[in-house]
Structure formats: C-alpha cells, structure tokens
C-alpha cells in the first residue's frame, strides 16, 4: 500500500506529502549521481546569487552523496529524498498508509497532532470556527434558495425548511461548548450533515 509522509510543523499544524512513485523519480534522475550533484551546486549558486539561498539544494546533495546506485533506489533512499521536501523545522513525521487517514475530513485544517497509526487530534477552537464558517455558507445558500423559489409553493416550503434547519444548526454551533477532541466529534460534526 502506498504511504504518505505526515508531519507536524512548527506552526502546530499537520501537513502531508504525497511522493512521486520511485519509478518516476528514477527516470528523472537518469543522468546519474554526478550530474545531479553538479546541478544542485549550480542551483545553489543561482539562488544565493539572487539573494534567496535555499537549504533544499544542500539537502539534495547530502541525500545524493549517500545513495548507492542512482539507477536502483532503495525504498529507504526514496523516502529520504521525499523527506528533503519537508520543512526544515518540522517537529516530527510519520510514514502512514494513505488509506488510513481521511485527508478529506471536514476538520482537516484544525488538525494539530497525528500519531504513527494515523490518529489525529484537533484544535477545538479552530474546529469550531470551521464548523461555524461551513454552516454560515449553508445558511447563505439556503437563503438564496428561498429567494429564488417564490413562484413554486412546494419548492418554497422545502427551501424555507432548509433555511430554518441551517439557521438552527448554526445557532447551536455558535453556543456549543467545545473543549476536547470528543466534543468536536460528538457535538459539531453532526451539525455539518
């Protein structure tokens, strides 16, 4: 199963990195180790020359120096190349099967921690703000629906019901007390449905 590299940043957020397959990267590196290192050195000088030094060039040189055979990367060497793409100040990282973590989760931007098994925890304040923002969008959409269905009685009734439900959910979300991960899941998530 393919894996993603999940990491915690110094900004207390969780990012994840999807690697290009090893076969694709080996094609990209077909010119060989010496050519790659030479290219990295030139790129480093270019970026220094324009006043924007980039530590990634040196990371790539270090990585390439340790690779045994450019034409036959090991899984570990492939992973270490991808690690060069991680922010230098990241606090920790895990390689996790990509199907284990729901990266499309509505509260994805409120993640603050992840363990090696893919279990995530949230910032409750951020999570609540995300839910309120999503419900506000729902209320706006429902209101527009009411305004656009004035000539069909049945449609208007449905639209007004949707608006009332969205407004109630938004009100509930605003007053909900959120202190923990469990609160986020138990109180706020149902309101998004």
């Amino acid at each position: 199963m393919a894996q993603k590299l999940f990491l915690k940043t110094s900004e207390n957020t969780i990012q994840y990195i999807s690697p290009s397959p090893k076969a694709s990267i080996q094609k990209d590196l077909a010119a060989g180790k010496d050519a790659f290192i030479e290219h990295c050195k030139k790129s480093h000088l270019y970026d220094v020359g324009r006043g924007q030094p980039n530590p990634r060039h040196n990371a790539h040189i270090s990585w390439a120096t340790g690779v045994k055979d450019f034409a036959n990367l090991s899984d570990e060497e492939h992973k270490n190349l991808i690690l060069c793409d991680a922010p230098a100040n990241h606090q920790y990282h895990h390689w996790i099967d990509e199907d284990t973590v729901d990266v499309c989760h509505p509260l994805r931007n409120a993640w603050t921690d992840i363990d090696a098994a893919g279990n995530v925890t949230y910032d409750p304040v951020k999570a609540k703000a995300l839910v309120v923002a999503a419900l506000t969008t729902k209320v706006t959409a429902a209101r527009k629906l009411v305004e656009s269905t004035s000539d069909a009685a049945d449609d208007t009734t449905v639209a007004e019901s949707a608006l009332a439900a969205a407004k109630q959910a938004l009100g509930n979300a605003k007053v909900a007390t959120v202190a923990s991960h469990d609160d986020v899941v138990n109180i706020l998530m149902p309101m998004l449905k």
Partner: protein, 109 residues
C-alpha cells in the same frame, strides 16, 4: 509524448521542465521532475521539483477540475515561485471555499 522526451533546463527550447497531475488527496497520477506534492491545508499545495529549475522566472501553467467541472478555480501561485517549488492555490468560485479537486495539472516551462 513520453516523459523521457523532456529535458530539464531547456525552457529556451519550449520543453517542459516539470509536469504533474494529482488527485483530490494529492496522489500523483503522472509526473516528470516532480518529487512530491505537499498538502499544506485544503486547497493549498506545494509542488516540489526533483531537480531545481533553471531560474525562478519560469512559466507555470495549471488547471483544475472535477468530473462535473462546475465550481473549480486555480489561482496559483500562492507565493513567489522558486527554483525548487511552486505553491498552487485552488478554490470553489461559488462559495470561495479552499478546495482540492479530482484533477489538478501543472506544467513549468
């Protein structure tokens, strides 16, 4: 054209220096000279190049879409392009929500 026909470092020839297509969870479907895609938050992704591009003044072309292609928009770059990465921003035009899409393509010339 197969990826192997491209050569890094030749924007004066019109050849792409990097290409990638990835899906809604940033799984890379095909790529050339792209080592990874980093999801920073919903709708904001960084495309990392395996070998640095020849300058930071490359042309970055991008497109996004879903199967129904109704609400998507890409407006990258989200930050100044560098020789090693391009940060792409995508969102839904109907409600402004930062969003990832089923088909995101990028090419650097």
């Amino acid at each position: 054209m197969s990826n192997s026909a491209f050569t890094v470092g030749g924007n004066s020839t019109g050849a792409a220096q990097a290409t990638v297509q990835y899906n809604v969870t940033q799984v890379i479907q095909s790529s050339f000279n792209v080592s990874s895609v980093v999801s920073i938050s919903a709708g904001i992704n960084t495309i990392n190049f395996t070998s640095a591009l020849t300058s930071a003044e490359y042309i970055g072309l991008h497109s996004v879409g879903n199967d129904d292609a109704t609400t998507c928009l890409s407006v990258g770059p989200f930050a100044a392009p560098t020789t090693t990465a391009f940060k792409l921003y995508t969102f839904a035009w109907n409600d402004g929500a930062d969003t990832n899409y089923a088909y995101t393509s990028f090419a650097a010339f």
